[in-house]
């Protein structure tokens, strides 16, 4: 589904991302972990053609993302709050996204009604603008908006941050369901190793812009990841 070839991104002299090859097959739930500055958000921004790659390319369903816009109909994303339109109510925002993705009001209503649990009664019918919602509720609205229009690829940056524990658990259920039963390719990044290992079939560790580990998730993965990041700590404390 998504192929990355010889991709790199350089700002003046600093290379922030270099990925020689990374293939994500259709229907895979893919997790990206790494410390701050490892290049997770940069990779997602390149994937969404929000920044220009210095070299190489990303292909999304045979479409090179920086050359054509044909990947947009089947791809959706929620990166941060800047994806929300503050002066709309959540419903209006969902309908707007629905309009852009060829869904009528009934389609959108049908979809959002599945998430009543997830919303916990704090989003729909509250007569509040998105800008007046709390960070966590904004995030919920953004994540659900990314599910509108049956996209084949869903990209979520740090979806678990800012959410309360119950919502985190519900979100894990939603994401697993998408990849397993609906064949959606889900890409998430997270700092929370436990959540990623719960949700993702495959986990890639980025470090200073490079892929250092590429793991199929199995019962020992969490231990392995913890050892890896703890090891980093040991090394860096030795360096000091």
């Amino acid at each position: 589904m998504i192929q990355t070839k010889e991709l790199s991104k350089t700002y003046s002299d600093t290379t922030v991302l270099t990925i020689d090859a990374l293939d994500i097959p259709k229907g895979q739930s893919f997790g990206l972990v790494g410390n701050n500055g490892a290049g997770k958000t940069t990779y997602f921004s390149l994937l969404l053609d929000l920044i220009k790659p210095t070299t190489g390319s990303i292909t999304n369903d045979e479409v090179v993302v920086s050359e054509s816009e044909d990947w947009k109909p089947h791809t959706s994303a929620f990166i941060d709050e800047s994806f929300l339109i503050g002066y709309l109510t959540p419903e209006e925002y969902f309908y707007f996204i629905g309009d852009l993705r060829g869904q009528n009001k009934a389609d959108v209503d049908a979809l959002t009604s599945q998430f009543e649990d997830f919303f916990n009664g704090e989003i729909i019918g509250k007569k509040k603008y998105l800008r007046d919602l709390s960070k966590g509720n904004q995030k919920k609205a953004g994540i659900v908006a990314a599910l509108i229009g049956n996209p084949d690829v869903i990209i979520l940056d740090e979806p678990f941050a800012n959410l309360d524990p119950s919502t985190q658990i519900r979100l894990k259920g939603i994401l697993k369901d998408l990849a397993e039963t609906k064949g959606v390719t889900v890409l998430i990044s997270s700092h929370d190793l436990m959540h990623v290992t719960d949700v993702c079939e495959r986990i890639v560790v980025l470090e200073k812009g490079e892929v250092v580990k590429d793991l199929e998730t199995n019962p020992t993965t969490l231990k392995e990841l913890e050892a890896h990041f703890a090891g980093n700590l040991m090394i860096s404390s030795e360096e000091e």
Partner: protein, 492 residues
Amino acid sequence: MIKHFISLEWKQYFRSSYWQKSIALNILLVFFALYFVAIFLGGGFILLKVLKKLFPDQDPFVVLNGFLFYWIIADLLIRFFLQKLPVMTVKPLLTLPVKRSTVVHFVLGKSALSFFNFLPLFAIIPFSIMAINDGFETSMVITWMFTMIIVVLVLNFLNFIIEAVSSDSEYSFLPLLLVVGSLYALNYFDIVSMTSIVGGLFQTVSNTPILILAPAAVLGICYAYNYKILKDKLYLDASLQSKVEEVKAADLSWTKRFGDIAPFMQLDLKLIWRNKRTKSMALLMIIGLLYGLFFYPQQIYREMEFMWAFIGIFSTGFFLINFGQFIPAWDSAYYKMLMSQNIKYEQYLRSKFILMVMSVVAMFVLGIPYVYFGWKILLAHFAAAVYNIGVNSHVILWGGSYNRKKIELDKKAAFNYQGTGAVQWLIGIPLMLVPMALFGLLNWLLGFEVAIGTLLILGVTGVVLHRRLMSFITSKYLDSKYKMIDAFSQDT
């Protein structure tokens, strides 16, 4: 502490992407500033002679003091629209061991250094020097000079009080216009002679130096009141957790007839109606509509035919210019999202285009009563409206592709002055002066019909070439996509 603040301000200014990308505009602003300084300086030196010549039997100070009422009113109006309270990023400071009072004093102190306060000094001081040289009593002149300086500062702080009050109300500038208008009317119809009251006050203070304490006390009160307002605002819950507005939903289903651009039109209409910044702009359209009434009642202006084109362009294109120049910055907060959505840029731009065209048509129709001043004026307005639709709308959309300045819509109006100010007015100049010059020149050389015809032809040509122009403009936007995303995601 103040030292740290100054260094923060310095860095904020010179490290903003806006500064780095628009040096040309900054240079232009500096030239404007120098121009005004020169005018005031010149005025200050010759004013005494002029007054003596025009009013040979009167004391020039009495004459000048008589005019001060008009100066105060004009100054307040100009300040209200152009001068803004300096913004300081206070949120990161609140949890640091910095006294709130220090922050407030710094912000207020910084405002005293505004260009608007220095400009009058360039006239006041030379005038005083000339007066002393001319043999006026030194102590009187000096007192007068300091009174003027204090009054300038009073106006400075009074303006911020007015702004703070008006930013809390729905109709931001209307109360001020009402107060200033009624003061002016009281004076104009000789009900209360404001000019002689204000003049008399200045006269009394100048003659009894000890009374200078009175304006100084007023200054102190204004400062203290500002201090109080600002200090109350320095709590997170005041500026961040603004009161939650009830949603006002309107039925926008009529936009459906515009087909595939309907979602964007609905979004734009909500944008305008639900954000303070855009809402006050929409209310300003009333002024744009009535603009002609400032000129046409006077015979002189009615006979200046080139003014017709200018007023026509301005009043029918008021929304076009004010809304258009911030395309696509209105959407800067969520621009990333739009760019990752399945949208056609051309639809996005066409929605804004249609909105602007509708506003031009509406403003023209509402302005039809101008026919009272002569059918030729209405004809000129019609030509100007067509020119706005065909030419200015495309020009301003094209200009938007060079827009690199973010606007934060969801900030409260009190701290939301990005993009407004002198710059905003500068951008409007080419859009209005070009058709005005063209009209004036052709009217003078070849006659009224040719001038009207030319504006009409240019406008119609623009409409005919609409599709081509739009695809050119769209390609410009696509070219600068990454730059815009980058600039809009930076904090200004």
